[in-house]
Symmetry: C3
Subunit: 342 residues, 3 copies
C-alpha cells in the first residue's frame, strides 16, 4: 500500500495543513476504525464527539478550531476532498483488457481492444463496446446496444436491444435497461400489449444503482441526462426524460412521459405521476407522490403533493387536532351557559 504525507494529500486537494505536514498516512478509515496511520474526516455534526475521540492520525475538516492540537487537513468541503483522496489512496482495481474466453460475442459486434468483457457475458449483433469500457461477468447486451468509453457495467446488467449507455457511466449489478414500457390498450376488459419500439438513452457520466429499471420508450426515447445519479431499486418508466445532474434516491419511481428538469432531487421512496413536468431544481421530499407540475426551485411534499411548507404546517395541525377539539368542546359549553344553542 502506498503512503502519502499530510502535506502531499493537502496539495492534491488544494487544502491547507494544520499541524504536522510530514505525518505519513496510508489509508482512509472511519472515525472509529482509524489509528495513527489513517486519515479520517469530520463532515456531520452528529459525529463531533466521535471525531474528537478518534485515534486517526489526521482529520479532514472544514473548521480547524473544533480540533485544537490535532493534525488537520483543512478545506471548505471535506466530503469532496475525501473523494479525491480516496481515489489516490484506494484506487479502484480495473479488470484486465480483453474478452474472457467464456464470453459470447456476436461476430458483428465491435468491442474495443482496450475494453474488458467478463466471464459468461453475452454481446449481441452489431453491439458496440467503447474504449476501456468494462462489461462485467454475466452481463447481457442485446443487438445494437451501445456502451460508451470508460463505462463500467457490474455483473448481471441487461442492456436490451438498441439501448445506449454513455461514456464513463457506472451501472451496478442487476440494472435493466430497455424492458418494455407498461403500455396496454384495454378493449372489452382485455389488456392488449402496445409494442414498445423506442429505446433508452443514458447520457454520459450517469450512475445507476443496483437493480434499477429503465423502460424503453413506446416510441422515441426514455432518456437520463448527463451527470445524473440514480440509487438502487429506482423505476424509470417509458418516455420519461430526466434532466442533467439530477439525483434519484433509492426506491423512487417516475411514471410514464414525465419530464424532470436539471438538478431535480427525488428523495427515497418518492414518486411522480405520469405526463407532468418537474421544473429545474425541484426537490421532492421522501415518500412524496408528485401529482402536478412544479415550478423551478419548488420543494414539494405529501400525496397529493403540496408546497413543502404547507405540508409541514398541515402535518403539525394534524397532530394538534386533539387540542382543537377540546377548544371547540369548551366553546360549546360556554355558549350553552350563555343561553345559546350549540
Amino acid at each position: 500500500m502506498s503512503s502519502f504525507t499530510l502535506r502531499e494529500l493537502a496539495a492534491h486537494v488544494g487544502a491547507s495543513v494544520v499541524g504536522d505536514g510530514s505525518r505519513r498516512l496510508e489509508g482512509v478509515r472511519t472515525l472509529e476504525e482509524a489509528d495513527e496511520r489513517h486519515l479520517s474526516f469530520y463532515h456531520n455534526r452528529k459525529y463531533l464527539a466521535a471525531a474528537r475521540e478518534s485515534r486517526a492520525g489526521a482529520l479532514v475538516v472544514a473548521d480547524a478550531a473544533l480540533f485544537p492540537g490535532r493534525d488537520l487537513l483543512v478545506c471548505k468541503d471535506p466530503y469532496a476532498a475525501l473523494g479525491k483522496i480516496l481515489e489516490l489512496l484506494h484506487p479502484a482495481p480495473r479488470p484486465p483488457s480483453g474478452v474472457h474466453p467464456t464470453a459470447v460475442v456476436a461476430r458483428s459486434a465491435r468491442v474495443a481492444g482496450s475494453a474488458s468483457v467478463g466471464a459468461h457475458a453475452v454481446i449481441g449483433e452489431r453491439a458496440v463496446v467503447g474504449e476501456r469500457a468494462v462489461v462485467g461477468p454475466a452481463c447481457v447486451l442485446g443487438d445494437d446496444a451501445e456502451v460508451g468509453e470508460d463505462a463500467v457495467l457490474h455483473p448481471h446488467v441487461t442492456v436490451e436491444a438498441r439501448c445506449r449507455v454513455g461514456a464513463r457511466c457506472i451501472l451496478h449489478a442487476g440494472v435493466v435497461l430497455g424492458s418494455d414500457g407498461f403500455g396496454f390498450a384495454t378493449v372489452a376488459g382485455v389488456h392488449h400489449k402496445v409494442p414498445q419500439v423506442g429505446i433508452v438513452v443514458i447520457e454520459d457520466d450517469v450512475e445507476l444503482g443496483a437493480n434499477v429499471c429503465v423502460d424503453r420508450a413506446a416510441l422515441g426515447e426514455t432518456r437520463v441526462g448527463r451527470g445524473t445519479k440514480v440509487d438502487n431499486l429506482v423505476q424509470i418508466a417509458h418516455n420519461v426524460r430526466v434532466g442533467e445532474h439530477s439525483l434519484l434516491v433509492a426506491q423512487s419511481g417516475i411514471s410514464g412521459s414525465t419530464r424532470l428538469g436539471h438538478h431535480v432531487v427525488m428523495a427515497g421512496q418518492s414518486g411522480a405521476v405520469g405526463h407532468i413536468s418537474l421544473g429545474d431544481g425541484t426537490v421532492v421530499t421522501a415518500k412524496t407522490g408528485v401529482t402536478e407540475d412544479t415550478p423551478a426551485g419548488a420543494m414539494v411534499s405529501g400525496f397529493p403533493s403540496r408546497p413543502h411548507k404547507e405540508w409541514l404546517r398541515a402535518m403539525a395541525n394534524l397532530f394538534t387536532l386533539e387540542e382543537l377539539k377540546r377548544r371547540v368542546k369548551a366553546l360549546e359549553e360556554a355558549v350553552r351557559q350563555l343561553g345559546g344553542k350549540a
Copy 2:
C-alpha cells in the same frame, strides 16, 4: 423497411380514412420526431398543440374535427389501433430456434424443437420449454420448471424449481419466480425458517416487468391470473392470488395470502396487507396501503385505506385546518366578549 398506404393501415385496424388514403407510411414516430413518412397519434389532451404542430404524414385520432386538412386515420380507440399498427410496421425480432451451444440443459429436460434457448441459459432436470418459447440469455430454470408455448423470457430471469409460466407470457429481465415466502416462526426471539414448499403459477398471457419478485407458496400455490399485467419492481408474496386481467403498477406490493379479484388495479407504490380480499374491479390509488377487504368496484386511498372520496375530502380538510383554527380563535374571542369563559 416495409411501407403501407394509409388506406391499408386503416383496413388493418378497421378504421376510416380522412384525406389522402394513398399516402405511403413507413413507420410510427412520436409527434415531435415524425416527418411526412411517418404515422403518429393523438390520444391525450395534454398533447393537442404538439399534435397540431407535428410534421407527421398522418395521425391516428378519435376526432377528425380537431385536425382540419390533415391526413387522418380515424377510430374510436387510437391507442388500441396504434398497438396493431406497431405490430405490423415494427414487428419484434425473434431469436432463431434452437439451443445455444453454451446453454446447459439437463438431459431429462424437454425443450421444444421450435423453442429458442439463449447463450449461457441453464435448464434443470425435467424442466419443460414449450413450442416457440424463448428462454433468453443467462436465464435459469430450476428442476421441473415449466415455460409455456410462445412465452418469452428476457435475460437473467430465474424460474425456481417446479414453478410454472403459462403460454404467451412475457417475463422481463431480472424477474424472480419462486423465491421462498417470508415465513418464520419466532421462538424465544429467534426466527426459525418455515420451509416454503409450494409453487408459483403464472397463468397464460401474463406480463411481468423487470425485477418483479413472486414468492412461492408456503403450501399450495401463489397464482397470477390470466391476462394480468405487472409492472417493474412489484412484490407478490407467498400464497397471494391475483385474479385475471388485473394491473399491478410499478413498485406496488401484495402481502401474503391476500386475494385480488379480476380487473383489480394497484397503482404505483401502493400495497395491500396480508390475508385480505380485494373485490373484482377494485382500484387502489397510488401510494395507498389497503388495510381491509374491499367490495367489488371499490376505489380506495390512503393508509389506513378509506373510500377514495372520503380520503379526498379528508385531504382537502387537512389543508384548510389553518382557516378552521382561525375561526375557533375568533369564536373564543367573541365568547369572551359576550362574558363567557372560553
Copy 3:
C-alpha cells in the same frame, strides 16, 4: 415419499396427540387441498371455517376444543411445529457437491470440496466458499468475496469484491451485495463520486429475499446482524448497521449510516432516513418513514414518524374533520344569535 404416523410427528415436535395417533400422513397441504393422507394446520382465526371444513387427515392446532372429533397434533405454537414437520416431510433437495464444468473459478479461489458451484457461476481471485455451501447457477462472486459454511446462494446472486456472507445464510435470486453506496460530493452543481471503499458483512443465519440490495460502506462496513431476515426488494444503504434477529419486510428501505438495534421490525414499504438510531425492538409500521431516533420498544407510524398511538388518533381525527367543521359552523351561528361577532 416417506410417511409418518401422527404419533411420530408429535414426538418430533414435542406435541401431544388427540385422536388416532397411528394415522399415517405423507405430506402437508393447505386446508383446501389436503385430503386424509395429509396434515394441515390452523393458525389464524380468519381460517377457522376453512379448517373445520378441511378434509385433512389431521390438523396441527393450539386449541383442541375447537375441533371436536378430529385427529389433532396439539401444541402451543402450530406455526413453529409446522416448520419442523415440513423439514421432515418435504426436505429441500440439495445440489450435488462439486464445481460445474462451465463455472469459472479463479485459480486462487478456495472452494470447499463439499460445496456446490452451479453452471456458469463465476468466482473471483482469492474468494472463499465454505463447506457444504451452495453457489447457484450464474452467481458471481468478486475477488476476495467470502461465502460461509452451509450458505445457499440462489441463481443470479452478486457478491461484489471483499464482501462477506456468513454461515447458513440464504440469499435469494438477484440479491446484490456490495454495490457502491450513493455518495457524491456536489461542487458547482456537478456530482463527483466519492469512492466507496468499504465492504458488506452479512452475519450468520441471515436470509435475504429476491433482488435485495445492500450497498458497501463508504469506509468500514455495512453490516446485517445474525439471524436477521430480509424480504424481497429491500434497500440497505451504505454504512447501515442492522442488529440481530430483526425483520425487514418487502420493499422497505434504510438510508445511509442508520443503525437498527436487535429485534427491530420494519414493515412493508417502510423507510428510515439516514444517520438515526432505532432502539432494540422498535416496530416500524407499514409505509412509515422514520425521521428520528426511537427508544427501545417504540412503535412508530406515519411520515414524519410519530408514536403509533398518536398517529392512530390523528388519523381518526382526520376523518372526523367534517363533523368538527359542522360544530364550528353551529357555534358561529349560535354566537351570532347571542349578538357576538363570529
